[in-house]
Symmetry: C2
Subunit: 166 residues, 2 copies
DNA sequence: TTTACTGCAAATATTTTGCAATATC
DNA sequence: GATATTGCAAAATATTTGCAGTAAA
């Protein structure tokens, strides 16, 4: 059964509180690094890589070691705040778990991801059950091409044809 | 608009032919390595990594260099035969483009992926349209836990509790 | 014969790990 | 004070690249 909470995205504050509880319950320490990382993570609207995160933290003048970043990502995944995924590049990407409420439109040309909502789809997924499997989240990624890239490619093709004819 | 062909998975032979045409059209060479790689690729029912592929090829006693493997994966993706994706680990995974006809059930404990069919979902997706975006494929991954793992975890918890009480 | 392709080895990129110093509880 | 956590640097893993030899067209 899909967890009800998935369908009600938490506020940033609630997520911080969730992390708080997670750390307490497991006897893990609540260090400034962890909360600073979480703050920066929550500022991302879309998926991001560890490298993206590192850069925004450096810009914010809060230096954290690579090792800590990676370790904290594990915690955030385990705490059910982030989910690991990928855009098909080398680096693993992360996104907030509650992004599942959106359909991901991934342009295969420019790599950009657009998030769109579809209430019918959400309702459909919430009702869906599977044999011998308990679902908690889902991710629907649609691969294709965005209009900007489609236009650009058409233009390039026209120009290439022109050049050949001359 | 979702490409009609997506809904009619090609036979292995047809895919080889598709690769053939792709290579010819682009003036690329039809080398034994490329066809041998494609044959091994088609033997995978589910997603696989370059490393998986390398191992099965080594087992099949057909040695291909790493560089060639990676390069050929690019070709197969470009030829619209494979799609890049990820199970959330470091290595990029690939799967046949026509696997989109299935819902992916990914167990977050053991990492295994089960493919299930859902005709309603397929019909729904085929009708779906997006603003400023032309879709060609989609991937629905459901994250959760398979019954085997769920049972194993419950058992471990019971045993842990017992041990504490004693 | 031309040049795309392959394999090798080295270079990059990404992530993980061992360990000493530090900070939380 | 005990020990989980951090940062550093090195190791491990994954992927890309330069180049010389080979083979497809």
């Amino acid at each position: 059964m899909l967890n009800k909470k998935v369908n009600e995205p938490l506020s940033d504050d609630a997520i911080v509180e969730k992390f708080n509880s997670y750390l307490k319950e497991r006897g893990k320490r609540r260090t400034p690094e962890r909360y600073e990382i979480l703050n920066h993570v929550l500022a991302f609207r879309k998926q991001f890589t560890v490298d993206d995160l590192k850069q925004t933290m450096d810009n914010g003048h809060f230096r954290v070691s690579q090792a800590t970043l990676y370790y904290t990502m594990d915690l955030l995944v385990e705490a059910d705040i982030l989910r690991r995924l990928s855009t098909g590049t080398n680096a693993v990407a992360f996104e907030r778990v509650d992004n599942v409420r959106h359909i991901h439109l991934l342009c295969q040309e420019c790599g950009k991801v657009k998030l769109v909502k579809d209430q019918n789809f959400m309702a459909y997924m919430n009702a869906l059950r599977f044999p011998a499997f308990t679902a908690s989240y889902y991710n629907l990624t649609v691969y294709g091409i965005c209009n900007d890239c489609a236009r650009r490619i058409k233009r390039l093709q026209r120009e290439a044809k022109k050049a050949t004819n001359q």
